[in-house]
Symmetry: C2
Subunit: 202 residues, 2 copies
């Protein structure tokens, strides 16, 4: 196929990324041929430093520059409430709301027997240790795993384990129902059932 090696190897690297197929990988690579070398160097540097310059927070397992992370070490936050998410990216979503003032715990995945991911592959033991830890320190754990089959299974598992670990903590799951701005007409049945079950008084 007569593609020069330096080009072919970059195409291959792009192609390994999720959601980027062979055509997009080619387009991105040829686009970068027109970009100044300084931009390429900056991109290259960010890539190689990504994991070297970040650590997992020893408390919440979020990816951060510092340990403990900025959120865990922020005294203004409510350390009595932990919101449990699957991925560090989920924290961003909650932080953007600006309304959640508690702290987090990142599992780095969800229980998935099909992919051979059991509870031991996730940071579940750490969460249970946090729940047991400070007597009366933690008041509520909000389980915010994704509303997928794996996320729901993880939520069920966590609910059971956390209650065993410390029965005084209130364990909750994110509210389910119609998202803002959605059209009822297009909502799926499961979402509608969840919305009826989770109805609130006005």
């Amino acid at each position: 196929m007569k593609i020069a090696k330096p080009i072919a190897s970059l195409i291959e690297s792009f192609q390994r990324l999720p959601g980027i197929g062979p055509k997009s990988a080619q387009r991105l690579t040829y686009y970068l041929l027109h970009v100044p070398q300084s931009d390429l160097d900056a991109f290259s540097e960010s890539l190689s430093r990504l994991k070297k310059d970040t650590v997992l927070c020893s408390i919440c397992r979020n990816v951060n520059e510092k340990d403990p992370c900025e959120i865990c070490s922020d005294k203004a936050r409510d350390a009595a409430t932990i919101l449990v998410v699957e991925q560090p990216l989920d924290i961003l979503a909650f932080e953007k709301t600006g309304k959640y003032k508690g702290i987090y715990h990142v599992l780095h995945g969800s229980i998935s027997p099909l992919e051979n991911i059991g509870p031991d592959e996730l940071y579940i033991e750490d969460l249970i240790r946090r729940a047991k830890g400070k007597k009366g320190g933690i008041k509520e754990i909000i389980i915010a795993t994704n509303p997928t089959m794996e996320g729901e299974a993880t939520a069920m598992y966590l609910g059971k384990k956390l209650k065993e670990a410390n029965s005084k903590i209130k364990i909750t799951r994110l509210g389910m129902g119609i998202p803002t701005g959605a059209d009822l007409e297009y909502a799926d049945e499961t979402t509608l059932i969840q919305a009826i079950q989770g109805r609130r008084e006005l």
Copy 2:
């Protein structure tokens, strides 16, 4: 927004790529946190070497490791036919067909007054020199710029200039019409008009 700097800078680099928005950039970056460091290093190396290890072929201006490039230095190819394309990526498309045996010329863009790209910003002078060069050496120049407004304008300009430079060379433009596998019902008017004008005897 409490994103660690190493993560934020990679998100920014991804976001500068065409077709990658803020959400995709975030998703790609957080995906790479789970990838082995060796893969990150390979990706990083490919990026920084992309332009350092490639040169523009002094004959056809294709991006390659060698000068002259593999195609120009391939004795088996028909050096009497030049196919003119806008981008190096376009060469790949023609090479994949396996049917074109001539050589190429890459303009690295198209004439676009709106973006301040005139003939002097492209490798047009080089093409004219090639046309003038070998007396009787080049028999045909196929203009394969994109069927966009800019591509058509470039084709018109090239046609005029090349005829002035060497009236013995046959100047052609890629055939226009219905693409294979297309549905006539959904073809636009311009394409249909082109298809009628370009009709062939059976």
